[in-house]
């Protein structure tokens, strides 16, 4: 009898201590990198984004403080149904705390709802739609890197102001293309220009000649490319073939990534103007990071801005967890903490996360170098201007986010 009472007491004591530990300092985190792992966006996100998340975990130094952080990755294949199915499984079965990356606006918006429902954390770097922090904003979501509003108000605005007052759009026929066309059209009309026509093409179109002929016939001064990845590279390459630029029309590649320039080749891409928020060759810190990153990539590619955004986002997330002293497994609480801390990292510099979830940092206007100016295999960009974050991204006064009306 005595023995059993003693063991009962011991058991209770153990249970109390372990329960206390779980509550106060659960230091386990599971990160899910959800991306297009093999399709047209795989090079700008994909395996490189998973690597970026891994590097963020290593660089955070949390392992030395007793944290146990796991990363898993998934392939959404650019299909919203597959993306949400993976997200649900990750939250329900694998107990994932945070989903990162998610290029493809269609998938990104669908996953946004799942993360909100499951009260997880969502740091989106790959998708462009400004709806993530506008009409469809969520207390669980942080949108890093870039969005369609920013692209429209940098590249788009610069072109209209330089005299490009009539536009024809080639638009990818899904959420992203629609958002980019909408945001750019707003800028064009606000600056006195007009849109004379447009074509909506299916995602992943190999041949653009039909659409380019229509754009050519429209006589618009600017042909706006509201598409991305392989679609954009094919359009630019084939536009050169059909003599569009030589004929006096100008291409506005509203969204271009480093990997796209590589695919087009400098010979064809030279002179294009576009906007990014990160380039590997900006300063010593970005070069050092990119060198480490490239050494771990199969094709030795430096990071794209999407992959850089995954790194910076995960770093900031882990900083917030560290400040909380443990993982509360409560998405809203962690995101609130993230918003309360200014962002600072080697890749994007200083910034902040606004109440609607939008990360604010500088945007840079670049021009693609001529082949003769390029000194290395990835030396592609010339910096021609810097737009401060508060001018590049949606002002809170214009945002329709419900989180702002408290």
């Amino acid at each position: 009898m005595k023995k059993s009472i003693a063991s009962l007491l011991l058991g209770t004591a153990l249970a109390v201590t372990s329960a206390g530990a779980a509550f106060a300092q659960d230091k386990t985190v599971k990160i899910g990198a959800l991306s297009d792992q093999s399709g047209l966006y795989a090079d700008l996100g994909g395996p490189g984004s998973t690597l970026a998340a891994q590097m963020a975990v290593e660089d955070s130094g949390l392992a030395a403080k007793g944290w146990k952080i796991d990363i898993i990755s998934g392939d959404h294949q650019n299909k919203p149904d597959i993306g949400t199915a993976i997200a649900r499984q990750w939250f329900d079965v694998d107990k994932v705390d945070i989903i990162v990356d998610v290029p493809n606006s269609g998938v990104a918006l669908a996953v946004n709802n799942v993360v909100k429902e499951k009260n997880g954390v969502y740091i989106n770097s790959g998708a462009a739609t400004s709806d993530l922090t506008n009409a469809q904003c969520s207390p669980n979501t942080v949108h890093w890197t870039y969005d369609t509003y920013m692209l429209a108000h940098t590249t788009g605005q610069a072109l209209v102001k330089a005299g490009g007052d009539s536009w024809f759009f080639l638009t990818a026929d899904y959420a992203f293309g629609a958002a980019l066309e909408r945001d750019t059209t707003a800028v064009i009309t606000a600056n006195g220009g007009k849109v004379v026509g447009g074509v909506k093409h299916p995602l992943n179109t190999p041949d653009f000649s039909s659409f380019l002929l229509q754009a050519q016939a429209s006589k618009a001064k600017i042909i706006g490319l509201a598409n991305a990845g392989g679609d954009t590279t094919n359009t630019i390459k084939q536009a050169a073939e059909f003599g569009i630029v030589k004929g006096g029309q100008k291409l506005a590649a509203l969204l271009l990534f480093l990997t796209d320039i590589k695919a087009i080749g400098l010979e064809t891409a030279q002179g294009l103007n576009f906007t990014e928020t990160f380039y590997w060759d900006m300063n010593d810190q970005t070069r050092a990071f990119s060198k480490r990153f490239a050494s771990k990539m199969k094709n030795s590619a430096p990071p794209t801005m999407v992959q850089a955004g995954v790194y910076a986002g995960v770093r900031h997330y882990l900083k917030a967890l560290d400040a909380l002293g443990g993982n509360p497994h409560d998405g809203i609480k962690v995101v609130e903490k993230m918003k309360s801390m200014p962002t600072e990292d080697d890749l994007f510099g200083k910034g902040e996360i606004e109440p609607n979830g939008r990360t604010i940092h500088n945007a840079y206007l670049f021009e693609v170098k001529k082949p003769a100016e390029s000194k290395g295999p990835w030396d592609f960009y010339k910096l021609i201007g810097t737009v401060p974050g508060d001018q590049a991204f949606t002002p809170l006064s214009e945002s329709k986010c419900a989180l702002l009306k408290k």
Binding site: G39, L40, P202, Q216, D260, E267, A301
Partner: protein, 287 residues
């Protein structure tokens, strides 16, 4: 109206690729009874071989047009000898699954090393520039693609339907035992035929390298449409697949003009209609 002419011509260009690819598929299916799902991957290999020849060996486009089909064709013949030949006489499904698996492996290997966004391949100097046709600006290279693939398609048709070698081939598919009794090496002929079909795919790959990106998934994106073309034309029919290839290119081009959103589904809608009305395809005979 002018715009319409331009769209018709652009449609013909895309049709050339459909025709070349579906022709190879038709040859392989007609002679070997194999549904070659690896066709897209072999097309992609053709483009990559051209890229390597240029960038590693300094071999120009014109030689690549000859060498790439031979190199990829040899690869195809090795596949046939080591794997496909064991499937003779089995259900179609086995060949389909095997070639589909091969396609996934080949694409995976290329994607692992070259990523998904592709590599640039410049248009050869002799074919740069364009002509103003009045109703459109036609890049010289596109004109070259139409003419060259038309010639290749007709030559292949002639080889199989009108020559003695073609007659042996067709006889060998009808009754291999009897043809062997005449002293003809039927297995070798089958291997060569597969090599020919594969070579056609690789040739299409080289032709498309300067237009599209040289990327691992270039074939996977195209092969589904090409299968629809073959089904519409009638499985195994040589002329049927050539004509349907060009015709569907034109129909797709017109759709891109009148209702662009449907341009990647129109071929499949047609396929459904044809299958409902004439299940053997437009020019096919009952199996």
């Amino acid at each position: 109206m002018q715009a319409l002419y331009a769209q018709l011509l652009v449609g013909l260009i895309n049709g050339s690729f459909y025709a070349l690819l579906s022709l190879g598929l038709a040859v392989i299916f007609g002679m070997l009874n194999i549904i070659n799902f690896a066709h897209g991957a072999l097309y992609m290999m053709g483009a990559f071989v051209a890229y390597f020849l240029l960038n590693l060996g300094g071999v120009n486009y014109w030689w690549a047009l000859l060498l790439a089909p031979i190199i990829v064709g040899i690869f195809g013949m090795i596949l046939e000898r080591t794997m496909l030949q064991w499937l003779t006489g089995l259900d179609h499904l086995y060949g389909l699954l095997l070639t589909f698996g091969i396609a996934l492996i080949v694409q995976g290997v290329f994607q692992n090393y070259f990523g998904s966004s592709g590599l640039p391949y410049a248009i050869p100097d002799q074919l740069k520039g364009g002509m103003n046709l009045g109703f459109m600006f036609l890049p010289v290279y596109r004109g070259w693609v139409v003419i060259f693939s038309l010639v290749v398609c007709l030559a292949t048709w002639f080889l199989i339907e009108k020559t003695r070698l073609g007659a042996y081939l067709r006889a060998a598919t009808e009754n291999p035992t009897l043809v062997r009794a005449f002293g003809i090496n039927v297995p070798r002929m089958i291997t060569l035929t597969y090599g020919l079909g594969v070579g056609l795919a690789a040739l299409a790959g080289v032709l498309s390298a300067p237009i599209n990106q040289v990327r691992p998934l270039m074939g996977a994106d195209l092969i589904i449409v090409v299968f629809a073309v073959v089904v519409i034309g009638g499985m195994g029919s040589i002329m049927g697949s050539i004509i349907t290839g060009f015709a569907l290119g034109v129909i797709e081009g017109l759709t891109k003009y009148f209702y662009p959103e449907a341009s990647n589904t129109v071929v499949f809608v047609l396929m459904v209609v044809v299958l409902l009305v004439k299940p053997t395809g437009l020019t096919g005979r009952a199996a």
